[in-house]
């Protein structure tokens, strides 16, 4: 049992990280008042961009190419999110539909471009990140083997981003203003805050983080771009709701989903799980999400103006 856990944890954590990145992005967007259903598509864009950049640069740059790829993934996600921002903030489109459109455009255009590069539409990268053990910390009993073995650099990066986000949202003027836009934009407006600009910031940050999530997915466990991120973008949204729109809550929720999804994937390797029917294992994370949403429906503390179109003219 313990052995199985130790073996699963690193995979679970690796699987959690793209979810965490994307869910953090969703946090910024929704806290500013914009629902971003397009996270799935933004992850695909990040995934694609990282794949292209890394596969081009790897021969010459080696490991460094990976970081360059991730940076470009963030940039691509941010730029693509501009489409959603324009649609939902300036053009007052329905945010759910706009987000769905983003998903479709992202999915189609990335495969289209990928085919022109490789014909099959899949892009392999030869070198991903190599998991490593954190010196000293991995020797701590219990916690060490679970959390500090076989880790990826990006995991620590993301945790730093998480901590920074908590600080940004709750301690700085920017965070106060961003949250006011998501709770009661009329108040923010009367206080002289440019609600449109704040919401742009929220959406663009969500694009960058979702792009990063797609990139991380590529370099830690996927290894290739194939046009889909298997619903991770939507799982991230569910994690946001499950985590009650708070950074720490999101960490817990994404880890839970990461763990649940991993169980399905490693069932071959773990003796205890080989008897469980494949369907149950695969469907488990999704069923659990549904149950969690039901359980948490009463206590949900969504930002009050989340998803509402803000029209400055209608003050």
């Amino acid at each position: 049992m313990w052995d199985s856990l130790v073996r699963i944890f690193p995979y679970a954590i690796a699987f959690t990280m793209p979810l965490l990145a994307t869910a953090l992005g969703a946090l910024y967007s929704e806290r500013s008042g914009v629902v971003n259903i397009g996270l799935e598509g933004l992850m695909v864009v990040g995934n694609f961009t990282a794949a292209v950049v890394i596969s081009r640069l790897q021969p010459t740059m080696g490991q460094a190419a990976i970081w360059v790829g991730l940076a470009f993934a963030m940039l691509a996600g941010l730029l693509f999110a501009v489409l959603h921002a324009i649609a939902s903030i300036n053009l007052k489109a329905n945010q759910v539909i706009s987000g769905t459109a983003i998903n479709m455009v992202a999915g189609a255009i990335t495969v289209f471009l990928a085919r022109t590069f490789t014909g099959s539409g899949n892009i392999h990268i030869t070198l991903g990140f190599v998991p490593f053990d954190v010196p000293l910390l991995c020797k701590i009993p219990v916690v060490g083997p679970l959390f500090f073995t076989k880790t990826y650099a990006t995991t620590w990066l993301l945790l730093a981003i998480l901590a920074f986000s908590w600080f940004l949202l709750y301690k700085t003027p920017f965070g106060l203003r961003l949250r006011s836009c998501g709770e009661h934009p009329q108040t923010a407006d009367a206080a002289g805050i440019n609600v449109y600009r704040m919401r742009y910031a929220g959406v663009l940050i969500s694009g960058a983080l979702a792009g990063l999530g797609g990139g991380i997915m590529l370099v830690t466990f996927a290894g290739e771009f194939n046009g889909s991120v298997a619903g991770l973008g939507f799982l991230a949204l569910a994690a946001l709701i499950f985590g009650n729109w708070k950074p720490l809550g999101i960490l817990g929720a994404t880890f839970f989903f990461g763990f649940a999804s991993t169980i399905a994937n490693v069932s071959q390797v773990v003796p205890a799980l080989t008897k469980v029917p494949g369907l149950v294992l695969k469907a488990f994370p999704y069923v659990v999400t549904l149950l969690a949403l039901v359980a948490f429906s009463k206590t949900n503390q969504a930002p009050k103006a989340d998803g509402e179109i803000y029209d400055a003219g209608k003050r």
Binding site: M104, F112, S297
Partner: protein
């Protein structure tokens, strides 16, 4: 006039989508005029091709209606793909198990597929009604649950003789394809689903505009507080709306998997689910609009293979064009404003 305005908006979105496609074609060094010419010819050039276009449109009409119905009642269901899968799985299972005269088979299969889809739509409906679970997330979860259900059920019980990844072939007496229709369109995939789709469009239109059920559903969609005030049972109507939407998508699954196709493949999430959203949006959520939009998309889908064969332009361009069209349809406020300004100018001249 509302209808004219919607048409203008739809056309504007379509033109912009085609423009985006043209730009992409140029970007990869292809000739857009040639590209589009093969694209449209691929969909309309011969009786067989027209038949295929209509066959594709059949499924899209049904998923489009499913989405339009949900949207009209204020619910953003994205669950058509999963509902199609469940409808298709039920249809396939029955087709491969029962052995009855064709008409009985078809009636049973179609009804069962509808029911399966309805149940798959009812679940997010009741979750929304009782627990206020947002239907976007719940329908997507159910899509994936359906996906894996098909993934494991087909190989376990209905697998083809030589392949693990698809079901056995649907026997002729269980398929929606009929001899005279197939012959009429020279061997295309066109099947009885077409008539089912058209009938559903008509019925949906009648329900929405002329019945008390439609009145209740729309009221709930427009303003659930006023609907509550009026004594309308909001949770019941939400669940009912998603169930109806699911039934339509389940029918789409039947027309696709035991009509268009001759077996069911695993590991594929049917894109008609998402395309249904595009169809509904472009058709302004009206049954006629949905039918017209689905024919247009049918042309795109049918033609992209031909275009790819003749010009090396990747077939995903069809999906890209469709996606861009939705994006512009979603931001339609630009066009409605443009339309209003043009209309005002014309009125001033006359």
């Amino acid at each position: 006039m509302k209808g004219l305005r919607n048409l203008f908006t739809a056309l504007a979105a379509v033109i912009l989508g085609l423009l985006a496609g043209a730009i992409l074609m140029l970007a990869i060094g292809a000739d857009p005029i040639q590209g589009f010419s093969y694209l449209f010819r691929g969909g309309l050039m011969s009786a067989e091709r027209i038949g295929n276009t209509l066959a594709t449109a059949t499924t899209l009409t049904l998923t489009g209606l499913a989405m339009a119905f949900a949207f009209r009642t204020g619910l953003f269901s994205i669950g058509a793909s999963g509902q199609m899968l469940m409808g298709g799985l039920t249809a396939t299972a029955l087709a491969l198990t029962l052995n009855l005269p064709k008409w009985e088979m078809l009636i049973i299969i179609v009804t069962a597929a509808m029911l399966a889809g309805a149940i798959w739509g009812f679940i997010p409906g009741i979750l929304k009604a009782r627990f206020n679970v947002h239907e976007v997330v719940s329908t997507i979860m159910l899509n994936w649950i359906a996906y894996w259900t098909v993934y494991y059920t087909i190989p376990a019980h209905f697998k083809a003789k030589f392949l693990e990844t698809e079901s056995a072939r649907i026997p002729e007496y269980a398929s929606l394809k009929v001899g005279w229709l197939t012959n009429l369109f020279h061997g295309s995939y066109l099947n009885l689903g077409l008539f089912i789709a058209l009938a559903c469009a008509i019925i949906a239109g009648i329900i929405l505009s002329r019945t008390t059920l439609g009145y209740e559903l729309k009221a709930v969609g427009f303003n659930r507080h006023a609907a509550e005030f009026a004594g309308i049972n909001v949770p019941k109507n939400m669940a009912l709306s998603l169930a109806i939407s699911g039934a339509l998508a389940g029918l789409a699954g039947a027309t696709y998997y035991v009509g268009y196709a001759t077996n069911m493949q695993i590991g594929v999430m049917p894109s008609q689910g998402m395309d249904g959203i595009a169809v509904a949006l472009l058709g302004a959520n009206s049954p006629i609009g949905v039918v017209l939009a689905s024919i247009f998309f049918g042309i795109l889908h049918s033609g992209k293979g031909f275009m790819n064969a003749m010009t090396k332009i990747p077939p995903e361009i069809g999906d890209t064009i469709i996606a861009v069209i939705i994006y512009f349809a979603a931001t339609s406020v630009l066009f409605t404003r443009l339309y209003d300004r043009l209309a005002a100018k014309l009125r001033r001249r006359s």
